[in-house]
């Protein structure tokens, strides 16, 4: 029982990282940009989430507002990195897959460099501590699973319906989808394709930065150069899995985080199990299997995904 409740509680909390990152990636892809650099942006975000509280109060307990400041700085820098990626793939129209790999290496390398020189070795921080909602958290089982998290978690969950609303119900969301589906048609209707794509990259980058900072502040409570460990790539895969729909992506994030939490919990609760490497593999294998059996959904994606738009080119 303990095992199940623990796993579910942690799933609810940790799902935020993947959820927010892949929600951001969804904004990118809806606008036709395949941003594989998500991993790198998350890495920088994760580092900044650690750096701000650490540089201000050291290893001690940081007051809440400093942690929030860390989140904000990570979000802003994420947006800036998203724009940098935009310069490469929108303005220069570079192939997006390979540019994404560059972005990933740049981000991970940058975070690692600054981490080594500003912080040094692995340091743990207190991060944002859990907050038990009075009354509600006293409900047996459900109370622990749903109502013992910190405010950031609830804020992040709130972003799911917001993302859905923005992408499907606002004029900007419509423009984003138009730009990702048929940029030429959007262009002839007077939509500034370049601008919308840049905006969506900023939004996506901001969310990736936020997700990274969440990972250090609320989940791992420490940083090392490999902390993201493929989560950025899983986030990209989740967008395919969730068929570019916020609610499905949300469910996918829950499923994958459950798989990931389950394997760590098995390692904790069943220490005599010797072959833990195979457990660690599971989430990654799950991604491949899911992508392989999801081939129909490739056609549901934005039709201009990964294609640069050149206004001057004749078709």
């Amino acid at each position: 029982m303990d095992f199940i409740v623990n796993t579910l509680t942690l799933t609810v909390r940790f799902a935020v990282t993947l959820m927010i990152a892949s929600m951001g990636e969804m904004f990118n892809q809806k606008a036709g940009i395949f941003n594989l650099g998500c991993e790198g942006i998350m890495s920088v975000g994760a580092f900044l989430g650690m750096l701000i509280p650490f540089s201000m109060v050291g290893a001690g307990t940081a007051p809440g507002y400093i942690n929030i400041l860390g989140l904000v700085v990570a979000t802003v820098c994420g947006a800036l990195l998203g724009l940098l990626f935009g310069i490469i793939v929108i303005t220069f129209r570079a192939p997006q897959g390979i540019a994404g790999i560059g972005m990933q290496m740049f981000g991970v390398g940058l975070a690692g460099t600054f981490f080594r020189s500003f912080i040094g070795g692995t340091q743990s921080i207190t991060g944002i501590s859990a907050f038990e909602i009075p009354l509600l958290s006293k409900i047996p089982v459900i109370g622990k699973i749903f109502f013992t998290h910190n405010p950031v978690v609830y804020f992040a969950y709130l972003l799911v319906p917001v993302a859905w609303y923005v992408i499907f119900k606002t004029p900007w969301g419509l423009k984003v989808r138009a730009v990702g589906t048929h940029p030429r048609a959007a262009d002839s209707l007077g939509i500034n394709v370049t601008r919308i794509r840049y905006e969506s990259l900023a939004v996506g980058g901001a969310m990736a930065g936020f997700a990274g900072a969440f990972l250090t502040l609320c989940q791992a409570k420490m940083f090392n150069a490999e902390i993201i460990n493929g989560r950025g790539f899983i986030a990209v895969a989740l967008v395919y899995f969730g068929q570019w729909h916020p609610i499905k992506i949300f469910l996918g994030a829950l499923l994958f985080t459950f798989a990931q939490t389950l394997q760590t919990q098995i390692q904790i609760f069943v220490p005599q199990f010797q072959y833990y490497e195979f457990l660690t593999m599971l989430p990654y294998l799950l991604v491949i299997v899911v992508l392989a059996f999801n081939r129909k959904s490739n056609r549901l994606g934005p039709s201009a995904l990964g294609k640069a738009f050149n206004r001057e080119m004749r078709v």
Binding site: L36, G40, I87, I88, F92, R93, A94, P95, G97, I98, A99, G100, I101, G102, M103, Q104, M105, F106, G107, V108, G109, L110, G112, T113, F114, F115, R116, S117, A225, N229, G230, F233, I234, V236, A237, Y240, Q274, Y275, E277, F278, T280, M281, Y284, L285, V287, I288, L291, A292, R295, N298, E312
Partner: protein, 362 residues
């Protein structure tokens, strides 16, 4: 006259290099070290003496082999970023062969080990190729995921089945491979090993394969325009898979060479990021085997500088990874600028229209 095109290309590249150096300088300044000193260490240390030069060369060997493989798949339109995982698989296979072939003569064991690495890497490259060709799974995602799977599998292998029984400290590592499975050193007291011959042979083989055979032609056609290739009767998915198998086999061989020439045993982290750097090298070498040679030498210098930076400066070695990412970003952007006919035309009008007329008058 193609003259202005060449000058255009060169000047774009120079601007790109300057941008890369500038961003690198900003990072080094932010870290709080002397920019020129750091760059000087990166450039000058490899040429200090023969020993450090051979250190560069042994880093160049796996880079070159991996990059050759990646160039094959990239020419076929599939980006293999799974070289890291394929290397791990190659190392595992070649460790198994090397530790089980005691007593056999060297000229049998060494090729056998390399072959084992190639087969394992090739099979591991087959998976994403097949997934891409048959199930339309993006190779970018599948290869990355397979990297993590392979890394875990490798960790398992050196911890349980291949663990060195004589190792008391508990560090997961395989047994030391026997002398008959190692690539011998070329010179006394230097780390350079025979693997460099394999690398040179592979350069020629890959060149012939890609540019002088029908296979290579078909692969390049499939990469240039898969629809046109299909219309021309080329079985695109077949060549996608073949290119990924070749790519994986190269990565696996690189792993085997690294095992037999440098480490002598399978230990954690022995791919040292060659798989990812290989992508950068392949791009930097314009996906052409002959250009990949100097490119891999350059990145050998960069990877070797990680060691020196750690000793001589306060710049963390992670800087090199950031620089590599930066170089990718700049290369892909530069390629688009170079191949853009509008900007070439603008460049010609700006700088060459006068020169042309004056030549006519003369």
């Amino acid at each position: 006259m193609n003259n202005y095109k060449l000058i255009y290309k060169i000047s774009v590249i120079i601007v790109a290099v300057l941008i890369a150096l500038l961003v690198g300088a900003i990072i080094i300044l932010a870290v709080g070290d002397d920019v020129f000193k750091t760059y000087w260490i990166i450039i000058s240390m490899p040429f200090k003496n023969m020993r450090s030069f051979s250190e560069v060369l042994i880093r160049m060997i796996p880079l070159l082999i991996v990059a050759l493989g990646i160039s094959v798949s990239s020419r076929c339109g599939i980006i293999n970023i799974g070289a890291e995982g394929q290397m791990y698989m190659g190392i595992i296979a070649s460790t198994i062969v090397a530790t089980n072939c005691q007593g056999l003569p060297k000229f049998i064991v060494v090729p056998l080990c390399i072959l084992a690495g190639a087969v394992a890497g090739g099979l591991y490259g087959f998976i994403p190729g097949w997934l891409k060709a048959k199930l339309e799974v993006s190779e970018l995602l599948s290869t990355v995921m397979l990297n993590y799977v392979a890394a875990q599998f490798f960790a398992f292998c050196i911890r349980v089945p291949l663990l060195d029984p004589n190792e008391k400290s508990g560090t997961p590592m395989s047994r030391r491979i026997a002398e008959n499975a190692t690539l011998s050193k070329l010179f006394r007291g230097m780390s350079l090993h025979q693997g460099i011959f394999l690398a040179i042979i592979l350069v020629v083989v890959i060149y012939i394969l890609m540019f002088k055979t029908t296979w290579g032609y078909k692969m390049r056609a499939a990469g240039a325009s898969s629809r046109a290739a299909r219309y021309g009767g080329i079985n695109v998915s077949k060549y996608l898979i073949i290119s990924m198998v070749i790519s994986g086999a190269c990565a696996g061989m690189a792993g085997a060479v690294e095992l037999m020439g440098v480490q002598s045993r399978a230990v954690a982290g022995m791919t040292s990021g060659y798989g990812f750097s290989g992508v950068v090298v392949a791009l930097f070498g314009a996906l052409h085997p002959f250009w990949i040679v100097p490119a891999s030498f350059f990145f050998g210098i960069l990877l070797f500088s990680q060691v020196n930076l750690q000793i001589l400066t306060s710049v963390p070695p992670n800087l090199v990874k950031a620089l590599q990412g930066l170089i990718i970003l700049i290369i892909v952007a530069v390629q688009m600028v170079i191949s853009n006919p509008y900007s070439i035309e603008r460049f010609r009008k700006r700088f060459f229209s006068k020169a042309k007329t004056s030549r006519k008058e003369a």
